[in-house]
């Protein structure tokens, strides 16, 4: 919903929140993921919860909330309470602020006393985090501290150890160190958000003493938006790719009219430098695993000539796909999405032309089209939307662009074979199929949240849940990594399930569409069957739950040799495989382990 995208009108959101909520829930065809979020507050959280809900609904996450009693964050976390225990949160958000710091250094304190005070304050938070991770094994989001709105020591508040600002910066460093060394723990950086908002406006002592809001009520939308970025990133709702216009978006001017030598890019003048900074910003996304593509109305020759300028930061090679033609842009983006095998709703489309933006927005459900204004606002408008919020940079991310490129090479190679099996054999595929291993937990959780098409039950899992399954002896868990002569695809297949007696139930089965039609699902099934047999299991039961996106796996179990035992009205089916019968493997070309 446009009203919930940056630049939004915070006052409008606050005033209309009930109507916005109604409108969000009235949307049709949204596939929500349901999540239980516990808010443990050191100050009032009522509106934080309500506004956060709006942003999450907009991201396709339907939250159910637990809210601690006022200022009972410590008690709830450390001692627990039956209501919270029953609630079983998927995620705990600890809303503490500078207002919750029990004691600041006194000017008369010695350095040792101040060090002790830091340790004491940290000890209290350490206790909270440890208790939460033991009690709930779930994702934790913790605010850091905002800067104080007054400076007793003036500029020395920053450098002098007695200064509040110095004290807060030291605590924030310690929070940072904890986050760096603990998985499933994220910092909601209110130190940054409050600075952007204006530290003095943010503090609003009036709202604190009247309502016990630790931040100005007017700042709550900015606060909640920032928090929602982390939550949607944790649950795999980040965007995956850019679709970029070229003329007046990546450079100043129109390359077809002005000629490549006259477009504004490089360092010759202010406008060129501005576009260069923007190109650098876009290019930096490549290393985060964001795919760069072009959807531009241009003759391809001209488009490439623009990128071929020696002072252009972005080169042809930086883009996975370039569609420079005279087709409508929504068509081009849909085609790019299809070629890459990702949803067209996972694109961020950037175009200076509002007419093009409106067209794409209307034609492609769920795509993000930031309302960029003048070129000097491009970076801020894109960046502040948190489309690609980073919760950890995996090997996978860094290699992603290369993997998609390799896929396109494969597509070319396949065209030269008459027999598909021969093509598969020519790929020299090697798979590693093993129980969930610590290094892959983040990727496995990511896949359960991102995969929509080749996904039989569409069960979404947090990393903490994945780790629990891996350590539960009644579970069989398997991940599959696939490599071939064009490159390493990384972890692309995941399955797990649980045994009850002599029957094994497949709870989840998914595969990245990156490796469709390679036989990986058959190699996975062979391993699952072997593992099940070693545990004296005689039957495997599988389930297909239809969604708007997973039609391609409707016949999955049939192709795997299962027998259908029931079909519900909504198309959900239940399947069984008798392990006493011989099983014929569908894998023709993958060498396993």
């Amino acid at each position: 919903m446009k009203q919930l995208e940056y630049p939004y009108d915070a006052d409008y959101i606050l005033r209309k929140k009930k109507a916005i909520r109604r409108e969000l829930l009235a949307r049709e065809g949204i596939q929500y993921i349901d999540k239980k979020i516990a808010i443990l507050g050191g100050s009032t959280t009522s509106d934080i919860k309500l506004i956060l809900e709006l942003f999450l609904l907009n991201y396709g996450i339907r939250p159910e909330f637990y809210e601690s009693e006022y200022n009972k964050y410590f008690e709830d976390a450390v001692f627990g309470n039956p209501e919270l225990d029953d609630f079983k949160p998927d995620l705990v958000f600890v809303h503490t602020t500078t207002r919750n710091i029990a004691r600041f250094p006194a000017v008369t304190d010695t350095p040792e006393q101040i060090d002790a005070l830091i340790d004491e304050t940290m000890g209290r938070f350490g206790q909270i985090w440890q208790a939460l991770s033991e009690r709930f094994k779930c994702t934790v989001i913790q605010n850091n501290f905002e800067q104080p709105y007054f400076r007793l020591l003036g500029n020395s508040d920053f450098t002098n150890i007695h200064g509040r600002l110095n004290f807060i910066n030291r605590l924030n460093d310690r929070f940072c160190a904890y986050a760096q060394t603990h998985q499933n723990f994220f910092i909601n950086d209110i130190n940054y958000v409050s600075a952007v908002y204006g530290i003095k406006k943010w503090a609003d002592p009036g709202d604190w003493y009247r309502y016990k809001y630790a931040l100005s009520v007017s700042a709550i939308p900015d606060f909640a938006f920032n928090l929602a970025h982390i939550i949607k990133a944790v649950y795999g709702r980040n965007k995956k790719a850019f679709a970029l216009d070229m003329d007046n978006t990546l450079w100043g001017g129109i390359v077809g009219d002005d000629g490549p030598e006259n477009i504004k890019i490089g360092h010759e003048d202010a406008e060129s430098e501005l576009f260069t900074e923007f190109q650098q910003y876009i290019k930096a996304h490549k290393d985060l695993g964001i795919l760069l593509t072009v959807a531009s109305k241009n003759d391809e020759e001209n488009a490439l000539a623009g990128l071929a300028r020696p002072d252009s930061t972005l080169k042809q090679d930086d883009f996975i796909i370039i569609k420079a033609n005279w087709e409508n842009k929504d068509r081009n983006i849909a085609n790019i999405a299809q070629e890459l095998n990702i949803g067209s709703d996972s694109f961020v489309f950037v175009d200076d032309n509002p007419v093009e933006r409106t067209l794409v927005e209307e034609q492609i459900a769920g795509i993000s089209v930031p309302a960029v204004g003048a070129p000097e606002t491009y970076i801020d408008t894109i960046d502040s939307n948190g489309f690609f919020e980073v919760t950890g940079i995996s090997e996978e991310d860094i290699k992603r662009g290369g993997m998609y490129k390799a896929n396109m090479e494969r597509a070319k190679a396949s065209a030269s074979f008459d027999n598909y099996d021969d093509y598969l054999k020519s790929l020299d595929m090697k798979a590693e199929i093993k129980p969930f291993a610590p290094v892959y937990m983040a990727r496995i959780a990511e896949l359960t949240n991102k995969s929509n098409q080749f996904n039989l039950t569409t069960k979404r899992c947090s990393q903490a849940e994945i780790e629990n399954f891996a350590s539960d002896p009644s579970y069989i868990t398997l991940y599959g990594r696939l490599e071939d002569k064009f490159g390493d695809n990384g972890v692309v297949a995941v399955t797990f399930g649980h045994a009850e007696g002599d029957t094994f139930y497949i709870d989840l089965w998914l595969m990245s569409c990156r490796v469709l039609k390679r036989g990986m699902e058959f190699a996975m099934m062979d391993e699952l069957i072997a593992e099940a047999k070693s545990r004296n299991i005689t039957k495997i039961k599988g389930y297909y739950y239809p969604t708007a996106k997973n039609k391609i796996v409707r016949d999955f179990y049939e192709l795997q040799g299962f027998t259908k035992i029931s079909e519900a009205e909504d198309g959900a089916t239940e399947w069984i495989l008798d392990l006493n019968e011989p099983h014929k493997s569908g894998n023709v070309a993958i060498k396993v382990n």
Binding site: R15, G206, Y211, V217
Partner: protein
């Protein structure tokens, strides 16, 4: 701005905050007359009123209001 003009804008604020297009308020309206006007919504109401009229109430002003009439008096005082 006349008292009447203030009420025109104020009614819209009430309608938005309490999500009810039929709300109209007058000098004697009190919290009990409006569905959902509790202490939490009061906060939102005050913020929305402040934003709508481009004013900022002092802390003391917002806690002792007896009815909507008094709120309008304060708005007029702020608008000067």
């Amino acid at each position: 701005m006349t008292r009447e003009e203030i009420y025109d804008k104020l009614n819209e604020v009430f309608q938005d905050v309490f999500d009810d297009e039929d709300i109209t308020v007058n000098d004697s309206t009190v919290a009990a007359d409006v569905d959902g006007w509790d202490s939490l919504e009061h906060i939102n109401l005050i913020v929305a009123v402040e934003r709508c009229f481009g004013i900022k109430f002092t802390m003391g002003e917002t806690t002792g209001l007896k009815n909507v009439g008094e709120m309008v008096d304060r708005i007029i005082a702020h608008l000067g």
